[in-house]
């Protein structure tokens, strides 16, 4: 079985699966259960300044999007940072870290955007013995209105400033947690790096209204007839999160900056995908909230099996391995030509490929009276929609036309050479040599 031990910023953990700062990590009781269940690390629920803690709503905090059989696809929440006293949390963290020295324990912090506030809390956190801190610049609801959370994360200058304070008053690794509620995630990531951050973690939750109660005419979760936007998470946000991770991993200014990947990670495969896109480890929340802590067992066994099959002996063997293959559209090879192929033996004759192609695409699939579906090569642009709507995996695949073959749609012979938009004759700013 492959060794999953992970070194992230010098913080060792038995595996790369950490629990994100969130409801599951709010108390000693939960965190101990998490470590016993096998989680490699925990980012404790965000701490606030000393004094009366924040209060949460007393009605429902979560809203959800369901798929087939009420599978939870997306969750949103309007919970705030920890509503227990700073003292209690610090005492519990100290005890837990003492009992689990080989597991990662990170303190998440959100205090007002004033140097004094950070200067006050950081030594207290240091005393717990935890392995590092994560700056919560992402929480999109409740705290942002008070000038914290995503209100900081949306202003790169603030990110840099606060990160600098933390590096000044705290010796261990500083991770900056980024909000996705911005237009270009590279700017806050660059600011974090400029401020001296040891790593960024992303994504925090996305501003969202998950559903509307059509009887009460109010967003859900509904509190006394009203609702508010909450932070969206779960499997539905994974594609957005992975793009943001990849953008930071391949940006010239932030390349090499360690990343802790977060966003809808539910299985070992999700985790592996984030890691090959540049995440040094991953953080999980919604999947644990949906199924309990036990899911980490599948993540551990699944990633181990995959690593063994691939011949990877350490997570560092594959972290970032897909980053060189994330490129811009203009560099995609326009001479790479494929056609859809339908495996007639696997086809169950539902006709969804036909409906999709005929109604919404290129009229490139034929249908006979006895329901045989075939691809018309002279119409097929290889859009992949039929592949995606087919309910049978691998029934429809894309065949690559080899150089020298005829593309019946264009009437042109497939060329072996790589050629992209930057050199295409239709491109007004083509850079092709005349």
């Amino acid at each position: 079985m492959a060794d999953l031990t992970t070194d992230f910023l010098g913080i060792k953990s038995p595996n790369p699966f950490w629990l994100a700062s969130a409801p599951p990590t709010d108390k000693e009781y939960n965190v101990r259960r998490a470590f016993e269940a096998g989680w490699g690390g925990v980012v404790w629920k965000t701490l606030g300044s000393e004094g009366p803690p924040v209060v949460n709503v007393n009605g429902p905090r979560y809203g959800a999007i369901h798929g087939a059989d009420r599978r939870l696809l997306g969750l949103n929440n309007i919970e705030l940072i920890t509503d227990r006293s700073l003292e209690t949390n610090l005492e519990e963290m100290t005890r837990v870290k003492k009992d689990y020295p080989d597991h990662a324990l990170i303190a998440s912090i959100m205090v007002p955007c004033e140097e004094a506030a950070w200067k006050a809390i950081l030594p207290r956190v240091m005393e717990t013995g935890c392995d590092g801190i994560e700056l919560n610049f992402g929480c999109p609801h409740g705290m942002a209105e008070r000038g914290m959370g995503s209100a900081v994360g949306q202003v790169p200058e603030y990110i840099q400033m606060v990160t600098e304070w933390c590096k000044k008053y705290y010796d261990k690794p500083v991770i900056v947690k980024l909000t996705p509620n911005i237009t270009d995630v590279r700017f806050p990531a660059r600011a974090a790096k400029a401020g001296g951050a040891d790593a960024v973690s992303l994504i925090n939750t996305i501003n969202s209204i998950t559903s509307v109660n059509l009887d009460a005419m109010s967003p859900e979760p509904m509190i006394d007839g009203k609702g508010t936007h909450g932070g969206y998470c779960g499997p539905a946000v994974k594609p957005i999160a992975m793009n943001m991770v990849a953008e930071i991993a391949r940006d010239a200014e932030t390349r090499g900056l360690p990343i802790s990947g977060i966003g809808g990670i539910t299985t070992w495969r999700d985790a592996a995908e984030f890691m090959v896109l540049g995440a040094g480890n991953v953080q999980v929340c919604t999947a644990a909230m949906t199924y309990g802590f036990k899911i980490v067992q599948e993540m551990i066994s699944g990633m181990s099996q995959w690593m063994d099959e691939q011949g990877y002996t350490s997570t560092s063997d594959f972290i970032g391995k897909a980053v060189p293959n994330v490129t811009d559209w203009q560099y995609l090879n326009l001479n790479h030509i494929t056609k859809a192929r339908i495996d007639q033996d696997a086809c169950i004759k539902c006709g969804r490929c036909y409906a999709a192609c005929e109604d919404t695409s290129h009229q490139a699939i034929s249908m006979t009276e006895d329901r045989v579906f075939d691809v018309k090569d002279d119409e097929c642009v290889a859009c992949n929609l039929c592949v995606n709507v087919c309910p049978v995996e691998n029934c429809i695949t894309m065949e690559v036309l080899q150089p020298g073959a005829m593309d019946e749609r264009t009437g042109k012979v497939v060329e072996a050479d790589y050629a992209n938009w930057t050199t295409h004759p239709n491109n007004p700013s083509s850079t092709a040599a005349e």
Binding site: D69, I348, C350, R352, Y354, P391
Partner: protein
Amino acid sequence: MSSKQFEDGITAGRLDAKALDANFSDLHPAYDAHEALVAADRCYFCHDAPCQVACPTSIDIPLFIRQIATGTAESAARTILEDNILGGMCARVCPTETLCEEVCVRETAEGKPVEIGRLQRFATDTLMASGTHPFSRAASTGKKVAVVGAGPAGLACAHRLAMHGHDAVIFEARAKGGGLNEFGIAAYKSTNDFAQAEVDWLLKIGGIEIRYSSGLGDGISLDSLQADFDAVFLGMGLGGVNALRLDGEDKDGVMPATSFIEELRQATDLTGMSIGRRVVVVGGGMTAIDAGAQAKLLGAQDVTIVYRRGQEAMAASEFEQDLAAQKGVRIIHNATPIGIEGNGSLTGVRFAYTETQNGKLVTLEDGFTLPADQLFTAIGQSLTGAPDALDTAGGKITVGDTGQTSVAGVWAGGDCASGGDDLTVTAVAEGRDAAMNIHATLMGEA
């Protein structure tokens, strides 16, 4: 277990009320709301869906399942009922395993179709429970149509006529409507008096009058109907039963399976329903299965269905055969009855083995005798009382594509008419389509 279990002869109360209740509960229990959502989620919403093509009434199955999946079961019911006004009963009694579910692409993919019948029941039950009727009548046309028979064909025809503004008068020979839905289906397929509830609900559209105990011959003739009405639809089913043509068929204990099924369906207290200790059923269709399975469920010790051809030739679906076998019924193939034994009362039935030689069924020398105190015959029903003026062929009234008979102004559909399987769903389709043709004819649009 009651000691009556081992008592020879035909007697009631072989099982106690509790056991009978369990035995005759719903064959396919209704889905609850969550189960319906899970089942609906399995539908792929196929293009030009094979299930819809396979349905004799062409219900838009993908659409109604999507309507269930999106929380609008009432809309789903409307989709179903627009094509099949007896969608509630069909959801219960259709041999879906040989119709829509047989061709479901999930059956192709996984050997487990979307449970279309149960989903249909969920939708129609939801609507009917609300007590509403989703259709209303068009403005009155002043036309009157006589419908003979309040079975599936007649009801579907009358309802469609009523929708188009015609007045329909149904002449029903029995004291109750529903036809085979009421009298001819295994009790566990239609519990809680559903057939009557469905008739009552169907009549809510208005414009339909049912005159009970007045079939053809009860002072009513085709001539009189033609004289009094603008059109006539015949949907009286098959009133006769085929006989074995053996000596001793009149012995106590020998009766048509249809009579047994009817008596059982009409029984208010099953503990009073008599059944033999050893029961033999002759036949290979749904009637044989319904009789055999229910005999077993009433507490008969040994029940044997004997069919003269091979298993593959049985008209009952494989699902139905398995159902009977699962209840403990034995099915013997390739044997035909040749003698009825007993002095006064039945004691046994003699059979000879059969074989198909050059496409012809041949009775062999070898055979066997099954001890029996009750024999149900289920070798087919026959047309009785069809007006002489009508052309018939193969024991059915000859009709065209939309139910026209050889006599102008007279239409026919359901089991009494040629074409199609003898199924509730087919009868509904034929009644509905005949109504559309009657409407077009009466309005001068045909």
